[in-house]
Symmetry: C2
Subunit: 325 residues, 2 copies
């Protein structure tokens, strides 16, 4: 009965890139592909909305046209750029891409840990200078890592670090012990009391009011000597000015950064020129095939939506992430 | 009874660096520290010899003075630079540093695998240019690796690769199946028939007549598309001219090299300037504390020698490595 099929609007980036496989929904939904300029118009009458352009902030502007909207799917793990107050207060269900990025991002963290421990950034600089210089490097087994964020991504990072002999503890909303993946979990608001135990600190937290500016000057000042900060969460969780100061005059030895306060990282950022920083272009989870995996995840939820079934990866809009079962 | 204590000569590098803890042997042995120039003189009457200068080739020249020599300990995993014919044919027992380097070298291999998969060398180049460019990277889990060399180092590499989700098979002197660490082991002399199955090929073989030039033009030509060669064994096992050709016109995508045909790598080597090569200065196993670990291993064998006990890590001089039990 095509007449009763729900309208699902797909917000694509301005280059018009669409998710693969949309045509497979033909029999169960009416798909409207649009871009930010036309979103307001194309949202009218839609019951579902896919943010294929996952960092778009166009939804709040078009919100007045969301006259029948029941569901928004975001093709990303972080939903911070979407969650405006009217949406949070509404009945609209938000789902995300939880799961797709867990292993790729955990692998990125291992790449950062091993690359820094084995001094690869310097090897590549020396290579450019045709300079042969033997150095002693760090053993990874026996290092201690603190993973901030006990969601699906943080857990996969913890598991993979443990698999290579790294001791791990976590930081979450509440302190607890006996966690299956972390063992000990400290409370994020007590970071400064515990961060000094860690050789490696990984930020894998979603961006929420509690995690904005979480890694600030006070925390950075008490990190372990020559420690390594890895940020694959959100740039706004780390105070970048304080980070530079901690590299210059504080205990921090190296920072591997995939996310930044402003992206793309501005040309005049002091981070670019530092030999004790690795800069990556917000791509830690984006392995070959990632777009297809994101599309497949949306298609699955779209079929569920059309059939009136329970959706997967429902975000707690007040917390800002998918709660653990 | 000091008079009956054996003389053990310690061949140090020209800078005079000595192993830590030699004084702890005072009660059981007479230690003679020397350098290459004086080795001939200081070898006379010695029953033991430590090659603290582990790549030295001075022993064959001083061999005529080895009038009472029973034992040589080499503070390295590879003994290829020591094994001249007269030594091989003699009764002198050779021991090495097996064990010390296993985990550090396996970690170096993981650093190479993850760093290349996540495109870190390019991220560091882009960083130098203040260039922000999102890319898709490779997932490590699900890759297949072939580890050439089924000794202690090769086994630790296999175990660590498996811990992060890489499929592993091995290459050794003889083909076999059901190996605890490798599962399938192919015969090294049939490399060309099997190498095409591997996304990553790791050379961890000792340098012997069988492994000299093992990875040659024929093998390189049939590697998998965009594959990654990692050499932490010996430079002479890889034909460097053929390697450059395979990167230029063949299937090879990247090479991570810690060892070379000539070391230090000559200034005019074409490898230096390549963006698809990572050059490291023969240091894959040398983590902080490595010299102390090597010294402790020698001291243990020296105490055993003085007490007439069985030595650890005895090399099969004809094979060129410590056979597996």
């Amino acid at each position: 009965m095509a007449a009763t099929n729900p309208v699902i609007t797909v917000l694509c980036p301005d280059d018009g890139a669409r998710p693969a496989g949309l045509s497979s929904l033909e029999s169960v939904a009416e798909i409207r592909c649009t871009t930010a300029d036309s979103l307001s118009e194309d949202l009218r009458g839609a019951r579902g909305l896919l943010l294929w352009d996952f960092f778009s902030r166009a939804v709040s502007e078009a919100w007045g046209s969301a006259d029948q909207l029941e569901w928004i799917h975001v093709a990303a793990a972080g939903v911070d750029s979407l969650l405006f107050d009217e949406l949070v207060d509404s009945e609209v269900v938000v789902t995300n891409a939880q799961g797709t990025f867990d292993r790729p991002i955990a692998e990125f963290v291992l790449a950062a840990v091993f690359s820094r421990a084995k001094d690869f950034p310097r090897s590549l600089r020396f290579q450019h200078q045709r300079h042969w210089e033997h150095r002693e490097t760090q053993k990874v087994a026996g290092l201690t890592a603190l993973v901030i964020g006990t969601g699906a991504i943080g857990r996969e990072i913890a598991r993979l670090l443990r698999a290579v002999g790294v001791e791990v503890f976590g930081a979450g909303r509440t302190a607890r012990s006996g966690d299956a993946d972390f063992g000990e979990v400290i409370a994020s608001d007590q970071l400064a009391e515990h961060v000094g135990r860690a050789d490696v600190v990984v930020n894998a937290a979603p961006l929420t009011p509690q995690t904005t500016g979480l890694i600030d000057a006070d925390v950075l000042a008490v990190m372990a000597p020559d420690s390594h900060l890895i940020n694959i969460g959100r740039g706004e969780s780390v105070d970048e000015t304080a980070l530079v100061a901690a590299l210059d005059d504080g205990p921090l030895g190296f920072a591997s950064l995939d996310v930044f306060e402003v992206e793309p990282l501005p040309q005049d950022s002091p981070l670019w020129g530092r030999e004790d920083v690795l800069i990556s272009a917000h791509m830690s989870g984006d392995v070959v095939g990632w777009r297809d995996a994101l599309a497949e995840q949306f298609l699955d939820n779209a079929r569920r939506f059309a059939a009136g079934e329970t959706l997967r990866n429902v975000v707690d809009k007040r917390k800002g992430y998918v709660p653990r079962h």
